[in-house]
Amino acid sequence: MSIEAKLLSANFDRIIPDSLEDYKRFGGYNGLKKAMNMRPEQIIEEIKLSKLMGRGGAAYPTGIKWEQAHEVKKFPKYVVCNADEGEPGTLKDKYVMDKDPYKLIEGMTIAAYLLGAREGYIYVRGEYKKSQEILRGAIKNAVNANYLGENILGSDFSFDLEVISGAGAYVCGENSALVESSEGRAGRPRMKPPFIKISGFRGMPTLLNNVETFASVPVIMDIGGEEYASYGTDYSGGTKLITLSGNVVNKGVFEVPFGITLREIIYELGEGIANGRKLKMIQMGGSSGACFSEELLDTPLCYKTAKAKGLSLGSGAILVIDDSNCVVDFAKCITEFFLHESCGKCTPCREGNRQLAKILDKFAKGKASKKDYVSIDRISNAMTNGSFCGLGQTAATALTTSLKFFKEEFDAHIYGRCLTDCCSMSEGEE
């Protein structure tokens, strides 16, 4: 499997996850030790050189984010990890937490050292209870070995880390909703400004990054930013954990260098389409990501190239859909997901998802008309451009993009035909 890379995932399945000894044997905590001998500007510079971008989906340059966080002169500051991996088709953060938890812990510790933060929190989705236990165990071991807690490694730097559990809400992946939830409330997004970096957890400056982002930092500190960046493309440095799911033979999490194509990922790592079927559609970035057809399969994995083609890598989820699936049925499934997960606070998202689900239900029952395209267009525009938070702003992406690539399949439903027989085309049960 030459196209795989082994930086972040190097320890996967080769160490006992919560064994600190194992972790150290393979170079663990070299990054922190180096960082603790560097000036803050040097740490930031190294991360900037790595071209690391936020791995949660928004792809904001990590170096700049950390620089801004460092410049804020209000204390206490908090370091918070977004481990609310709720984007369907994504389980790479779970892999990191389950298979190499110290990497995340080390990354957060480096961030805390840089910012002068005394406390950090890992917000793990409630569904990942096992990962929470692994992290708690690892934190305990790190405290005992003086990699966390008071006077870390004999310095005057102290840092405590705690795991917070979510309780089942996709929207808590949105950073301000995550902070709300961390403070014990319903996880509905907060108004911005003020931004989390100024007024986040407990109203104080907060650095919030995804698991994969934090876990990449020890690697960067260890091998150097330039070396890390060299794995990827000019724009997107290093490697990415991707989750391959759906109708491929070999599903799972893979670490790949930026620059390889989707075709390589699906046909080499994924070993092609399962059950002898043909590829119909790909959805990239999770349920909030765009759907597209085979014609974009040679797009290289890179934030910039993807954007140019109207795509987003998002969380790195790649969902492969074969030709036994119906695009309308799929769009309906996605819309129902967002209808279930919308926090309900703002009109476009709450009401828009309801209306879209209703319209797609009409398509699936052969009851839709051309007029419904106008409604889809109006509603999705209002949602995309006018929703309160990222959830509503991306909830209609799958629908609008699949309409772009597979309009004829929607049309067929208007005329009462589902080409795959996935839709009931009648009033009865779906």
Binding site: E85, G86, E87, P88, G89, T90, L91, K94, G126, E127, Y128, K129, K130, I164, S165, G166, A167, G168, A169, Y170, S181, S182, E183, G184, R185, A186, G187, R188, T243, S245, G246, N247, K251, G252, V253, Q283, S287, A317, L319, I321, D322, N325, F330, C333, I334, E336, F337, H340, E341, C343
Partner: protein
């Protein structure tokens, strides 16, 4: 009924987390777990509100916001079938059918002996073995009819030695 969490127990859990509002979600998770029926009763919520000095409406808001909480009693074990896109394209309906016929209940229902509740769930990160189900903290994938029966029996009999993938 032994399932009903006593006021004293609620107080202990609240106390364990220092009674701070910030820990409300963690407190409710623990209380739901010890409820035995995977729910937060009105009485429990009221005690939590009183102990923490919160309006009951705020506690109710938190309970109803998160999908893992319930205000209605459920089965001792909740069988969750993922209905998100990555599982959807792998036909989870067949899995639903297998569980429905094995348990004799429909989706969303609880067995009369209150052992199992069958419900849908959003993605819980088992796309590598989809279509997947989750029971408590355990995840099972690549399901066949025999395996479904085996899983159900393992929970009935109180031991769990099923191959999970």
């Amino acid at each position: 009924m032994r399932e009903i969490t006593s006021q004293q127990k609620v107080r202990e859990v609240v106390e364990k987390y220092g009674g701070v509002c910030e820990k409300l979600v963690q407190i409710l998770l623990e209380l739901q777990e010890i409820s035995g029926q995977n729910f937060i009763s009105k009485e429990v919520a009221l005690t939590v509100a009183e102990e923490m000095g919160l309006p009951l409406s705020k506690v109710y808001d938190v309970i109803t916001f998160y999908s893992m909480f319930s205000v209605e009693p459920k089965g001792r074990h909740i069988i969750e079938v993922c209905k998100s896109a990555p599982c959807h394209v792998n036909r989870p309906q067949s899995v639903v059918n297998m569980f429905e016929s094995a348990l004799g209940i429909r989706m969303g229902e609880t067995t009369p002996d209150k052992t199992f509740t069958l419900q849908h769930s959003s993605c819980f990160g088992a796309c590598d073995i989809s279509p997947a189900i989750k029971i408590g903290d355990e995840i099972y994938g690549n399901l066949t009819e025999d395996k479904v029966l085996e899983i159900i029996n393992s929970y009935r009999e109180g031991y769990r030695n099923v191959n999970r993938s």
